[in-house]
């Protein structure tokens, strides 16, 4: 084989190799952040037989009053899961001083929760409520949760104190 022919063969093989990689590679692109092996769960939390609902409120904030309407807005987020096998969570209601201020039936992935419990069915447990609600005096207020399950059961979860400026 002449040198030129050998070069041509090498070039063709290299081109084919690249084409194969482009067509068949299942690896993620370089720009996508790789999943770290260090994130393996060391200890897994366990659901107790008496548990009905797990989760709660991660963060809550109350805005200042609207200068026109006097309404305030509330942002709260957290996660909830049902431990009742046949009754998933239907709705999360957020209460300010015991009065309903907002609710949601939309849930989003919380891989940290699924990982912490070693339960993939706990993944879709994130919730957030972002809403306007009525007038409220300035000062400290207690924000709690009521979780409604698909079987009609409701479970109250303890909350946090938030400051209305």
């Amino acid at each position: 084989m002449t040198d030129e022919a050998a070069q041509r063969t090498v070039a063709t093989l290299a081109g084919l190799a690249v084409l194969l990689i482009v067509c068949l590679s299942t690896k993620p692109p370089w720009h996508d952040e790789p999943v770290s092996n260090a994130a393996k769960v060391i200890s897994v939390l366990h659901v107790q037989p008496t548990d009905r609902v797990l989760g709660g409120l991660d963060e809550a904030a109350i805005s200042n009053a609207d200068p026109v309407t006097g309404q305030r807005s509330l942002a709260a987020h957290g996660w909830v899961v049902s431990c009742v096998l046949t009754a998933p969570v239907k709705k999360v209601v957020v209460l300010v001083d015991g009065e309903p201020a907002g609710d949601t039936d939309q849930f989003f992935p919380r891989p940290d929760v699924a990982q912490a419990y070693g339960r993939s069915d706990f993944n879709n447990s994130g919730w957030q409520v972002d809403t306007f609600f009525g007038q409220l005096p300035s000062g400290a207020h207690v924000i709690t949760l009521t979780v409604l399950l698909a079987n009609g059961e409701s479970v109250d979860l303890p909350g946090k104190k938030a400051w209305a400026p």
Binding site: D3, A6, Q7, V10, A11, A14, G15, A17, V18, I21, V22, C23, S25, T26, K27, P28, P29, W30, H31, E33, P34, S36, A38, E59, A60, A61, I62, S63, N64, A65, D66, P67, V68, T69, Q71, S73, L74, A75, A76, H77, Q106, F108, G126, Q128, D130, T131, F132, P137, S138, G139, A162, W163, P165
Partner: protein, 696 residues
């Protein structure tokens, strides 16, 4: 030799094959451009489905395009990391198709891909000029299809570097054209500054390194040293001349060089306003990549490549390219999240591929081994970029299978349908929709608006110019940029504005409150605007109120016994400023403090600083702050929940402290290294601690 038709056909076939082989690099470039073009979407009139919304980055990307179409140019009217050349390139699709969010989401990435392909092709032409076209084609596919980040700055820098190497190598030979080549390099340097501030400085450093390396290699030749010195001086003079032209074009004084001063401000503040810690995967990839590159370079240097038979261009390249790659890595070391690490490592990866494919030897064995490393290594480490995957290329040209729906089941804004089920995207898209609707309804098309802190795209979606001297507030560090931002706002004095509170679910840049990051801009806003209403939870509509500056004033109260000079001996270290007596009506904590760092922090990055405010109810607030090293800084902290800051915009004279919040009882400062590149201060000086109340 007798003529036969068969021989003629064979000859023509061979001619065509040879022509294709000689132009394989150009054909590959065109093929990549075609593969990346979403033609079916471009021809579709339906709302564009978009699954991602990155409010912070999409805001600057969209805003610079809208500003370009409005005649507002980076470097001339507004300061930003990027420059007018980048603005010009990214605004081309909007000029051709009309501005809308749909145009941006459809063509924004494509513009970057096309530019990257052209720049990488040009780099290959220069650095692999003596290699066959198929090697350049292979290089192009490996770089653009696997390794290149989706941003133009680094690709442009590497092209500029390649031209610098070629020009410097050329002047070492007995060739005329010193002046022309120096002028070409000067012109590229100016282009680099027009592209972005960091590209400009990196390009200047690259040219200096190339000249220095060439001088060291040729130190025995007085003639070459003189030519290198002449070249350097001529390039500098050319840069000054082109710079004067830019000054005039930017409306600056001919010798003002404001574009250089602005670029310096942006580059010099980056190291202390945006440092973050290095994740473990970034650290690991950094080490492995540098080790692999070192191996490739050492092998190349030990082999024939560095003997006198090799061309000056190759010699200068082999010695200067790793230095340039290490310099460019600086940006990634300051902010080593994965997306920045990929950008920082790109030069050393590209240069390694040049070394592997540019062996310039006829040995088929060596060529094969180098190709195996380049192609095999790429295939083992990474997959192709998503736009090059066959199903996406097919989708770009699937005219019939495309879902042509004129309705949007998600959130519709300006031709785009945000149809993600992800909560964050729906939340941000809803905020974008209601806020842009509000701005469109309350302001005239010729009005400008103010947006705080960084969500500029709400103004663009409403077709309103976002005012300010600095594009987004998180870039502001130090007095110069603060002043430029306020001057920009004062020039246009927008009647309306929107204030996005630090609200749960809203991204806070590096967890620093937008008030603490840019207190002077916040106070400017608070003095000149009052709240009209809440547009959505956490989003306040502001209206300009010229009576406020005369009514509102700051009342400081010294907090005695809290100052001092504290030596830092541990990592982390918490400095207790002691118990304090907090006035009942105080709203803010203001610390005047200096972090004393050793001089080498400028090559690394400062430490993380957190002000811990202890409250009377037993709770505490940890406020991350950004401080310029070795300079006295004013640190402003709102001691309670940052969502309460909206109350300071109430039009009524009463401040937000109608009900007293728990008093501040103690202050601590926690200093810790971000990571192994971060430097601890030697001392922390707190010269003053004040409680400040706003009086109406």
């Amino acid at each position: 030799m007798s003529y036969t038709p068969v021989a003629n056909v064979e000859s023509r076939k061979a001619h065509w094959l040879s022509a294709v082989a000689c132009r394989l690099d150009i054909i590959t470039s065109v093929a990549l451009i075609v593969a990346s073009t979403p033609l079916a979407s471009l021809l579709s009139k339906a709302p564009l489905p978009v699954a991602q919304l990155n409010v912070l980055d999409d805001s600057w990307r969209i805003d610079i395009i809208y500003k370009a179409l409005s005649g507002v140019w980076l470097d001339r009217n507004v300061i930003f990391t990027y420059g007018p050349l980048y603005q010009l390139i990214t605004a081309i699709p909007a000029r051709l198709l009309g501005f809308s969010l749909k145009t941006f989401y459809l063509t924004g990435v494509v513009t970057l891909i096309w530019t990257t392909i052209v720049l990488t092709f040009s780099t290959a032409k220069v650095l692999l000029h003596s290699e066959p076209a198929w090697k350049r084609a292979l290089f192009l596919v490996l770089v653009v299809g696997f390794w290149s980040p989706l941003e133009v700055r680094t690709s442009a820098l590497l092209f500029f570097y390649a031209v610098f190497v070629a020009c410097v190598a050329r002047i070492l030979r007995p060739h005329p054209g010193l002046l022309v080549r120096a002028a070409a390099c000067a012109f590229l340097l100016i282009l680099a500054f027009m592209l972005s501030a960091d590209t400009g400085f990196y390009a200047a450093i690259a040219l200096i390194l190339i000249l220095a390396v060439s001088a060291i290699v040729d130190w025995k030749s007085a003639r070459n040293l003189i030519r290198l010195a002449q070249f350097g001086l001529l390039s500098l003079a050319g840069f000054a001349l082109f710079g004067i032209g830019i000054n005039v074009a930017m409306g600056d004084q001919p010798f003002g060089f404001r574009f250089l001063r602005d670029a310096y401000q942006i580059v010099s503040t980056y190291r202390w306003i945006e440092p973050v810690s290095m994740p473990s995967n970034s650290s690991r990839v950094l080490m492995w990549t540098l080790a692999a590159a070192a191996l490739i370079y050492c092998t190349a240097l030990l082999k024939k490549d560095f003997r006198s038979t090799t061309s000056p261009r190759w010699r200068v390249f082999l010695l200067s390219s790793p230095l340039v790659a290490l310099v460019v890595l600086q940006s990634a070391l300051v902010r080593p999240g994965w997306e920045h690490m990929v950008i920082g490592l790109f030069p050393i990866i590209l240069f390694s591929l040049v070394v592997l494919l540019g062996t310039r030897v006829s040995s088929i064995t060596r060529t094969s081994v180098c190709l195996l490393i380049a192609v095999g290594g790429t295939g083992l480490i990474t997959g192709p970029v998503s736009w090059l995957r066959p199903h996406n290329v097919i989708a770009n040209y699937s005219f019939h299978s495309r879902r042509e729906s004129s309705t949007c089941s998600g959130i519709y804004v300006d031709g785009v349908c945000f149809d993600s089920t992800t909560f964050g995207v729906r939340h941000d898209a809803t905020a974008l929709q209601v806020t842009s609707d509000f701005l469109r309804q309350t302001t005239a098309p010729t009005d400008s608006v103010m947006v705080f802190p960084y969500q500029n795209l709400v103004g663009d979606a409403a077709r309103r110019l976002v005012a300010g001297g600095v594009l987004q507030n998180y870039l502001i560090g130090g007095e110069y940029l603060t002043r430029r931002q306020i001057v920009g706002l004062e020039t246009l004095r927008p009647r309306y504005g929107v204030y996005f509170l630090d609200w749960p679910g809203v991204y806070k840049v590096d967890d620093v409150s937008s008030f603490t990051r840019t207190p002077q801009v916040w106070f400017y806003m608070q003095r000149h605007y009052s709240a009209e209403r809440q547009i959505a939870p956490g989003i306040i509509a502001l209206v300009r109120d010229e009576s406020r500056p005369g009514r509102i004033r700051q009342q400081p109260h010294m907090l005695s016994g809290t100052g001092g000079d504290f030596a830092v001996a541990e990592d982390p270290q918490t400095i207790d400023l002691g118990k304090i007596s907090w006035p009942n009506d105080a709203d803010f904590l203001k610390l005047t403090m200096t972090m004393h760092y050793p001089v080498y922090w400028k090559l690394l990055k400062p430490a993380e600083v957190i002000v811990i405010v202890q409250l009377a109810d037993g709770s505490e607030k940890q406020a991350k702050v950004v401080l310029r090293p070795n300079t006295s800084n004013e640190v402003w902290v709102y001691p309670w929940g940052d969502e309460g800051l909206g109350g300071f915009f109430n039009p009524a004279p009463a401040g937000p402290q109608a009900v007293l919040q728990p008093a501040v009882v103690g202050i601590k400062i926690r200093v810790a290294r971000f990571d192994w590149i971060s430097v601890m201060p030697t001392r922390v000086s707190v010269s003053r601690a004040e409680a400040v109340s706003l009086q109406y």
